[in-house]
């Protein structure tokens, strides 16, 4: 019975969503808003399909996703590795934590001009910026996670005479995993954003170019199609990492 009610609500929500789409289409059709600025949903959808059919949109999507993933994977590996080392050592934390805390609120996009200064307007620059930007959440969360391991578990490990390595792998890492996964999710979003920013600034193609060029030429269906694809990438990333999180963190008590 409960299942049916849940389904009912879901269906109602979908209906509301479709309703909004309908409203949007209506507004576009009746030209309440200048059609140059606001294409209808159907126009947008067609523009997207056309883009993929000609291969242009597909190429750009691939470029953006590639940069996003390369940078994010590198950043995550470095973040976890470095974070584990720093988080496990009281001394390292004492010396490094204040500096890291100060750097935390810095917008990672601010590193773009520094990146340009060193790497020029290149693909390497974009990936570098993406990696740098998505490093911070993971690094900080890993440090925090490793530093905040339940004291009791450390004592259990001492009683069992576990080696330092075993403590890090068997106790600290699983304990820090929830924080690390949540931060990696944030890191992926950051990676996407920086990828687009980098593309806009460095003329590196990708979806960044798609939306920028379209907006400059007032070709709103193409622009909205690009936005739609970016939204879908964001959604897919979120769902994928959420699923991973659920799978890895099965053991958590139901909240």
């Amino acid at each position: 019975m409960k299942r049916l009610r849940e389904f009912g609500w879901r269906a109602a929500s979908v209906a509301v969503g479709l309703g909004f789409l309908g409203l949007w289409q209506f507004v576009a059709w009746r030209r309440f808003v200048n059609p140059v600025f606001l294409p209808g949903p159907i126009e947008t959808w067609n523009a997207m399909l056309d883009g993929f059919r000609t291969g242009m949109l597909g190429e750009r999507t691939l470029a953006t996703v590639q940069r996003m993933l390369y940078g994010w994977v590198v950043a995550s590996l470095v973040g976890i590795g470095l974070g584990a080392a720093i988080g496990s050592s009281r001394r390292a934390r004492d010396y490094l934590a204040p500096t890291l805390e100060f750097l935390r609120p810095l917008p990672s996009s601010a590193i773009v001009p520094v990146g340009i200064a060193f790497f020029g307007l290149s693909n390497a620059m974009v990936i570098g910026v993406v990696a740098f930007g998505s490093l911070w959440p993971t690094l900080l969360a890993t440090i925090h996670g490793f530093a905040a391991v339940e004291r009791r578990l450390i004592e259990v490990a001492r009683m069992l005479r576990l080696s330092r390595g075993a403590v890090m792998v068997q106790i600290a890492f699983p304990s820090a995993l929830p924080d690390i996964l949540a931060a990696m999710r944030l890191g992926l979003i950051t990676a996407l954003i920086l990828s687009v920013v980098g593309e806009i600034l460095a003329f590196q193609g990708g979806l960044g170019s798609q939306i920028l060029e379209a907006s400059r030429a007032y070709r709103s269906p193409e622009l909205f199609a690009g936005v739609l694809v970016l939204g879908m990438i964001g959604l897919a990333s979120n769902l994928a990492l959420s699923a991973l999180e659920t799978r890895l963190l099965r053991w958590r008590a139901p909240r």
């Binding site: 009791r152 001492r158 576990l162």
Partner: protein, 268 residues
Amino acid sequence: MNRQTAGGDVQPAGAGEALVSFRDVSLTLSGRRILEDISFELKEREFVCVVGPSGCGKTTLLRLIAGLMFPTSGAVHYRNQIVRQPASDIALIFQDYSKALLPWRTAAGNVALALEAIGSPKAERPARISALLQKVGLAQYAGHYPSQLSGGMQQRLQIARCLAQDPTVLLMDEPFGALDAMTRQVLQDEILRIADSGGTSVFFVTHDLEEAIYLGDRVLALRPNPGRVAEIFDVRLPRPRDQLVTREAGEFLQLRRALFDFIQETGH
């Protein structure tokens, strides 16, 4: 005092000899004297309970035996060697059991951790794990996560993990304090059985006076500020103990009286 040099070889203690001995042990932390001139012995196959008001250092005594803390003066010996680090055959059961279990491993996994730590051969592990879970009555819950177990079951799981070390000495820090009365009684009898069948010495910290008399061969009563051994009571009740019979025995009631009086005198 964190000398973490490796401990020496373990020499078997002779029959009736002390396994653990405290000689004039004192401990000062942050300027406060926690323990003063503690001297006593824990013998083989002995069940010693420690009682005393809050803050008298009962848990500290336990942690000194465990090798998690070290005395400021005096010496703690295990098998005639100074305790410098946790020994592989001393197991510690913590009071906050939920925090002492790995939440991301199943019950079987938690027990496996101890077996991994002592380097038990992989092929033997599954059999040993189910035997241990069987012993504490958790055989059906091998695949459950700690968050899915009740308080009593979690405590039993901790006991199972500790038993995986094949301990000669079992240290227990108010293990049943957070459990309801019924579960407590069941686990009291279980621990008596386990200690008896394994020939294990037990050092049991509790604030429940009746529990101390019921379980122990001797009861160590501590006086607080600073913690000192005030009196050691011998418990001459017959074994095996029984929740009804033993608790009604004359000797039990006398000891109970004596302990209650002692606690009254030493304040709260």
